[in-house]
């Protein structure tokens, strides 16, 4: 059900309206999903619309495989003005909307929008924020968390997305922090780059959210089929991240894909001088690991990160000269 939750008058035309989607009856633990906090994070908005289409078909009985048992709320477009401007931020205030939470119902437009979103999701049990990478980068689909307690680990396992990245604390005025401080089990799902839509990456996250809803009995899968393979997520600490930096400025030409494994010394790409076309620097991986973030916009400054590699320390079992049950391939 699409419901208008806030109407903000504008100086020159029709009011700006914030809509919430909701499915299921009250009385259940609520899953809230928010996307479009940045106006150019299109993957999240597409994924949210894909979920709306799916949940509508479940509720209307068109999808024969699932029944809705729980309650789901979504805000597909949070930063309405930025989206309408086709930019990350709303040019009028230049503020990052994800620094406006918990918001203020009496405040300016961004604060009022933040307040409405926060108020309508404050009773949630789980919260999922959908985003793309930072400007100029592409993210492999992965989960971001700030704590790795049992509840978060369970959510991550239920999503069946194989990469979970623990970040340092987020800003205290972000939606993530406010939800978490309100005891909502919160994760961010990140995929792709700003201003682009990657349907394949969205499908991976969509399937993850469906997996999670089935595991938490928000959805009932009538088919009762066991998944072929349970994905066990790998949890990465902040110390497991290695940034590969540009030693020169110029034009970066990538030679690998985000979301792949790289070996130390493997070529990631090269930086060329824009005037002469000559190669100025070969960019190589500085560690073995999973390439979670890769430069997408080719123009680079010196000292900018080109890639982020998530590394894993070997388990002690892997050093043993004989195979163990967990360490065996």
């Amino acid at each position: 059900m699409k419901e208008k939750v806030l109407s903000v008058p504008t100086a020159f035309g029709a009011p700006l309206e914030l809509y919430k989607n909701s499915w299921g009856k009250s009385g259940h633990e609520i899953l809230s999903i928010v996307s479009g906090l940045q106006g150019d994070h299109l993957n999240g908005m597409y994924l949210s619309s894909r979920l709306s289409q799916f949940l509508d078909s479940v509720v209307e009985g068109i999808d024969p495989n699932y029944t809705l048992k729980g309650q789901v709320i979504s805000f597909p477009v949070a930063n309405l003005n930025a989206i309408q401007s086709g930019s990350r931020l709303w040019p009028y205030d230049g503020m990052d909307m994800d620094l406006a939470f918990p918001g203020n119902p009496e405040g300016e437009t961004s604060e009022a929008l933040a307040s409405a979103i926060y108020t309508h999701t404050a009773d949630s049990y789980w919260g999922i924020i959908l985003q793309s990478a930072s400007p100029h980068y592409e993210d492999a689909p992965h989960i971001q968390v700030t704590k790795l307690d049992g509840r978060i680990k369970k959510l991550a396992r239920d999503l069946q997305i194989d990469t979970v990245r623990k970040l340092n604390e987020t800003s205290k005025v972000s939606l993530f922090h406010q939800w978490y401080a309100h005891d909502i089990i919160t994760v961010t799902l990140s995929a792709g780059s700003p201003r682009t839509l990657n349907v394949q990456q969205c499908e991976a996250l969509f399937q993850g959210i469906v997996n999670f809803m089935v595991a938490e009995k928000i959805l009932k899968d009538k088919r009762k089929i066991k998944p072929e393979e349970n994905i066990k997520p790998r949890f990465y600490q902040p110390g497991d991240e290695v940034a590969v930096l540009a030693g020169t400025a110029g034009m970066f030409l990538k030679e690998v894909k985000v979301g792949t494994a790289v070996q130390a010394g493997q070529k990631i790409g090269e930086i060329r001088d824009i005037y002469s076309g000559k190669r100025r620097e070969e960019i190589t991986a500085t560690a073995n690991g999973f390439l979670v973030t890769l430069r997408q916009y080719p123009i680079v400054y010196e000292k900018e990160p080109i890639a982020i590699i998530l590394t894993t320390k070997k388990s002690w079992r892997e050093y043993l000269p004989w195979p163990t049950r967990r360490g065996a391939n």
């Binding site: 008058p9 009028y92 230049g94 405040g107 930072s134 340092n168 110029g250 010196e302 990160p305 982020i308």
Partner: protein, 317 residues
Amino acid sequence: MLSQCIFSVETPVGPPVEIIRHTFASNLPKPVKRVSLVAGLHGDELEGLYICHRLIETLKNLEEQNAFKGEVHIYPAVNPQALETGTRLWPFFSVDINRTFGQTNTPSLPSEISKILLEDLKSNSDLAVDIHSSNLHLMELPQIRIIKDFEKKLVPLAKFCNVDLIWVHPHAEIFESTLGYSLNQAKIPTLVIETGICLRINKNYCEQIVLGILNLLQQTGTLDGDEPLANVTPPKVVQPGYVTMIQAKNAGLFVKQTEVGQIVTEGEKIGDLIDPVEGKVLEEIRSPCSGLLFTLREHPLTSKGAPLARIATEEPA
């Protein structure tokens, strides 16, 4: 004056981005005080640059008179590419550098710069002043804003600075990623000056602050001199709860009828909020109290809830 580049980065097609620190050294082997002045964190705030220009000019003369008992560091343009484009944010990154101090998650060039700047200031300062203009929307009377937690240490220093107002306000979490907060947390007393409006230079306000900073340097023993370098006016110190904010109840165009710095009385008209399409006056904006009008909306385009004015009152608001 000694100029030093504290950070340099090669750009894809143009000259490097450099952050420069000018140093006026002490005549004493151990400086009495080391004071740092920072401007241009936001590229559209030009008054800080002008204040630094005027200070450098004056301090060069004082240097010839051997007036330095302490050390003064001036960082006049710490966000050069934003300054060159006249935008608040570094345009290539769309990042507000003054929200990247402290702990950050993703490595980036702006966060690297903020880290280096913070470390440089920490190792060179006993006292710092971070100079800002207001945003594009509001005109501000020269003022220093102090978070309540730092009041005891900062208010006596702020009183030297010749501002009209010292506004002590409660802590808000949004400040935690700013330069001023990070330095104060690191036990380096830091005053955050807010004056005028972005993209403009209000010469009178700037001269007022230049005199204030010279006075601060003299009062802290950084500059020698028996004769006062500047006569300063004591500011109004406003505690939390003594500020009334007027917000728009409608969206429209705000047409002001007064100026900042006025003492307004209860019921006095401040402006009109008009509907530009229908030709109606949506709201007559009147002061709900008496006091010093220290903030006034300058950008006419107004959304519902937007601040129109702030008034420092004698009675709790």
